[in-house]
Every structure is written in C-alpha cells, then in structure tokens.
C-alpha cells in the first residue's frame, strides 16, 4: 500500500487553496501530472550549479551538465528496460516522438520506406498525436491509412485483424493505454500479426509510462513513445525509444548542431543514434528533471503505483455507477483498464459539468481529449474525464461524486 499522505506532501500544488477558497482536487492527471519537490529541486540545482551546454565543452560545467544529461538517459533506459542507452532519444514531447517516426519512415530507404503502395494501420482510439502524423505521411506519400474500430464497450475490435494488417502494411501504430477510454490494449495480438507481415510496430505509451511497469523488450515493439510531463517530470521533454538497428538505418529528422558527425557546405554525415535524432541544444534541464521523476517513481515502485490506481479506479467506477444518468464511455470495470475515466451526464454538456465542478475546486478535463474520433464513434460531442495518479485518494473520488450531484441539481 502506498503512503498517499506522505506522497501528497511532496507535491506543493496539492495543498493549494483556489481563489474561491476551495482546496484543489486535481483529477486531470491524464492531461498532465503535478511535480514533486524532488523534481523541482533537481531543476533548481541544475540551473544554480551546473548549467552549461552539453557534449562540446571541456570545462567543468560542461562536463557536469553532460554527465547529468546523459545520466538521465541511463535512468530512462533502465526504467523501460531498454537493451541499450543509445536507443533512448530525447524529444520535446510524445507528439514529436511520433512525428519523428512518421517522418523517418517517409524519408527512409527500402525496406522501411512508406510509399504509395504501403498501408499504415492505427486505431480509432488514438490521441490526435498518433493520428495526424500518419494522415500527413499518408497524404505526402500516397500510402493508405487504415484503422481498427472500437467495440461498444470501448475495446479495440480486432475481429478483422487479418484484413486490416496485411502484407502491404509497413507500420502499425497504436496506443497502449487510451487517454480517453482508459482501455489497456492487447499488445501481443497486434504485435504478433504485425511481425507476421513484417510491419514495424510503434507504441504510444504516453498514458502507460506514468502508471505501470513499461518494458520495451517485453512489448516487442520497434518504437515506443512517451512524454515527461505526465510522469512527474517537467514540460518540454519526451522520449522515443527505438530498436538500435532501426535507429542506425533510418535517416535523420531535424538537422542541426549535435546531430552531425562532420559538416561541410557540400554535405554532412551524421552522428550515431541517439544523437542523430537530437538536433540543437537538447532539453537539458528537462531531461535532468525526468531523471529525478524516474528516481521518485522508482522509489515509490511502479507496481505499487499501478495497484493503488487500480483500487482507486475500482472505487471510482463503483461510485460513478450511483450517479443517475451517468454513462461511462469506455470499459465499465477496472479490468485491463487504467485510471482515466470518461463519462457523460445526461444531456448536460461536459463544459457545463466541468465548470460547475471547478467551482467546487474539482479539476477535471472536458472536451474530446484530443481523441475526437472516439466521440464521433460513440455519438457524443464530448466527455467529462476524471483521471487519477499515485497521489489520488478515495476522498477525492467522493468529492467528485458530490460534485456531480451538485451539477445535476444545478442544471436539473
């Protein structure tokens, strides 16, 4: 069991009193997480003592900054059980990581090249950041974009898997945990089929990395993307993990300082991965912050965090079921399900739900959660989403339920 009280003390914002006098109940963790003071201290120490540009200096600060930055890469590599630290590329966010892969595949040589004869497979529950890059790639190469649909209870419909993933499929990209439905997807079935047809597999782990053990070797994917700000780290840092031989074979994306081996006006050669994909001054302090966040998460234990969130999810689902006219969009049990719960409340628009909850200090997200196709699929304009994390409590669930009763009364 987590000592949630002790954990909450590490997060300064959680004791914030809002301008209307209400204490903050932060249930918007799928959008972004709060930061413990350990992470903020790491940032401040970096800037107050060691700040320098990395990799190209022989002076003390530059050596220290480089050691801290590369140390963060080690921390990420071991957090996701990467076979090699050189497989960890730092980006600005998960969206850049996913765009990086889509662009590499557009510019790649055979056998990776996505062209007019290729098919790209995604799913209907992707975040826009795992839809739009592939739409752009399809438009620009003439490739065909296909996708898995959803079942009524918020799961992937894999019944036509052999027609969707075919010999023409060059890449299959899908979300491990949906940010809108909370669904945890069955990786193995998809990876198996993708491997059978020789397609590359990209996994969007943005909602998984913060909440459960993430083992890139166990996933057997080719690329895994996630984002720092949802896992206690600063904004401005993301990760792309990729298999070493792919990172070696694939062409660079952004060009500039850091990513080169040698430059002349006529032509350039590129540094080995991961540097090949890190053009310009990297998010140094943010990587250091991510390293500190991982240290914090490891200290608590990812298994313990997952178990805590599972309990909270079960409790929340059972209490939400008490609220009249409330319809959960996504799995209604805690099985293969993470701690982001979307719902509608009668025909009260989610914007109105969120506003009235905010008045009570309860921060939830409303809208399409950057997953508009899911709303279209279920014929709803938007949802209200409550999402939990390691510092969430049953009392916060109770506050949410009270709040929802109040919403109903207000618009009743």
């Amino acid at each position: 069991m987590l000592d949630v009280d002790a954990i909450r003390k590490d997060f300064p914002v959680l004791s914030r009193i809002l301008p209307n006098g209400k204490p903050l109940v932060y249930l918007d963790n799928a959008a972004t997480s709060q930061k413990p003071k350990q992470v903020l201290d790491a940032l401040t120490a970096y800037y107050e003592l060691h700040n320098a540009n990395v990799h190209r200096g022989v002076h003390t600060l530059a050596e220290e900054a480089t050691a801290l930055y590369e140390g963060a890469r080690d921390a990420v590599a071991s957090f996701i059980n990467a076979p090699s630290r050189d497989e960890v590329v730092f980006t600005k966010n998960a969206s850049e990581s996913l765009n990086l892969v889509a662009n590499m595949l557009g510019w790649a040589e055979e056998p990776y090249k996505v062209d007019a004869d290729s098919e790209i497979v995604i799913t209907e529950m992707e975040h826009h950041s795992n839809i739009v890059p592939w739409q752009l790639l399809a438009q620009r190469t003439g490739a065909k974009l296909k996708w898995f649909g959803l079942t009524d209870d918020g799961r992937l419909d894999l019944s036509h898997i052999d027609e969707i993933i075919t010999e023409k499929t060059k890449v299959v990209s899908f979300v491990l945990v949906s940010n809108i439905l909370g669904t945890v997807n069955p990786v193995e079935a998809i990876v198996r089929r993708a491997q059978d047809v020789g397609a590359l597999v990209v996994i969007d782990a943005s909602q998984a990395a913060p909440h459960m053990v993430l083992d890139v070797q166990a996933l057997e994917a080719d690329f895994v993307a996630f984002t720092g700000h949802k896992m206690l780290a600063p904004t401005g840092i993301g990760v792309l993990w990729g298999r070493q031989e792919l990172l070696e074979d694939l062409p660079p994306f952004l060009g500039g300082g850091e990513m080169i081996e040698t430059v002349s006006m006529q032509s350039s050669t590129y540094a080995p991965a991961p540097h090949k994909f890190e053009a310009g001054t990297p998010p140094i302090a943010q990587a250091v912050g991510l390293g500190a966040a991982i240290e914090y998460l490891n200290g608590v234990g990812m298994d313990a965090i997952a178990a805590h969130e599972h309990r909270i999810t079960e409790y929340a689902l059972s209490r939400l079921a008490e609220v009249p006219d409330l319809r959960v969009i996504g799995p209604t049990t805690a099985e293969d399900r993470a701690a982001a719960i979307s719902f509608t409340l009668g025909d009260i628009h989610p914007h109105d739900v969120g506003q009235v909850l905010d008045e009570q200090g309860i921060a939830v997200r409303v809208g399409h959660h950057c997953a508009r196709p899911v709303c279209l699929r279920y014929g709803i304009p938007a949802t209200t989403r409550a999402s939990f994390y390691l510092y969430s409590t049953e009392a916060e669930v109770d506050a949410l339920i009270d709040g929802l009763h109040h919403v109903r009364a207000f618009f009743g």
Partner: protein, 151 residues
C-alpha cells in the same frame, strides 16, 4: 456565488428553450467549430435588401454557446445590417472585457447576462462562436456566395 454570475437564469432559459433553432432557407451558410472544446455550429443568414431576414442555426455545445446563439437570433433578426453589426461589436466588446464591463441593456438586452462569462477565458470562445459564425456568414451572403451544403 461565482457560478451564478456565469449561469444567469436568462442564459439557462435560453439554453433550455432556444429561440429560432433549426436550419431554414438562407443566402449563405457557415460551419464553425471551437477547437478547444469541439463546440460546433452551422449557421445560415437570409438577407432582404439591407435587412437581416433570418438567422437559422443548428449545433452542439455547452449551455453558453447554445444560449448565445439563441440570444443572437432574438437580437439580430429583423434588424438593419448596420445596426446588427453594432450589436455584434457591442457583444464582442463585452465578452472581451474580462468582467470589467456590464454591457448596455438598451443595445444588448438579454445578452448582458453574458457579462459574467467574460471572466472565464475558456468560455468566452463558447459565447462568441455563433456571433463569429454570423459575421462570417453575413460577409459571405453580401459577397453573393451560394448556400453550401451542410458539412
């Protein structure tokens, strides 16, 4: 309570009983969305000479965006274009006032109920959705654009 300053009874009334809703004949049609929240509106204007004969609309969205379209219909239909435009500008000014203005009831009638909304940046766009759509549709109607099929 702060909430009541946003959700005035007038707004809730318009939301529950919208005026002039539904798509009717028009000279121009536009479809606007609020990307931040997904609110959508399809809106048509019908001109007769210089007079705004009808504003018809259909859409989905929160109470604020729905009520605002209803109030717009009340306020603008039957007005001369110049006057309609003045009302639109007055409403825009009110919504951008961050709670500093109360609005001129002579000009804005029920729309002054939205004064409280102007304190909430994320909701200002909801309140303005139909008004921006109206402005766009009117410009198109004046330019003689044909009625588009609903998207």
């Amino acid at each position: 309570m702060k909430l009541d300053s946003m959700y005035q009874d007038i707004i809730l009334d318009h939301y529950k009983h919208p005026h002039g809703r539904g798509l009717r004949d028009g000279d121009a049609e536009v479809h606007h969305v609020n990307p931040t929240c997904g609110d959508e509106i399809t809106l048509r204007v019908k001109l007769e000479g210089n007079v705004l004969k009808d504003v018809s609309y259909e859409g989905q969205g929160c109470s604020i965006s729905q009520a605002s379209a209803s109030v717009l219909n009340d306020l603008l239909v039957g007005k001369e274009l110049g006057e309609a435009q003045q009302i639109q500008e007055a409403f825009l000014e009110l919504m951008q006032s961050k709670g500093q203005l109360e609005g001129d009831e002579e000009v804005l009638e029920d729309a002054i109920a939205f004064a409280g909304v102007s304190k909430y940046p994320a909701r200002v766009k909801c309140a303005l959705l139909s008004w921006m759509a109206w402005k766009d549709a009117t410009a198109q109607a004046l330019a003689g654009a044909p009625v588009k099929e609903s998207a």
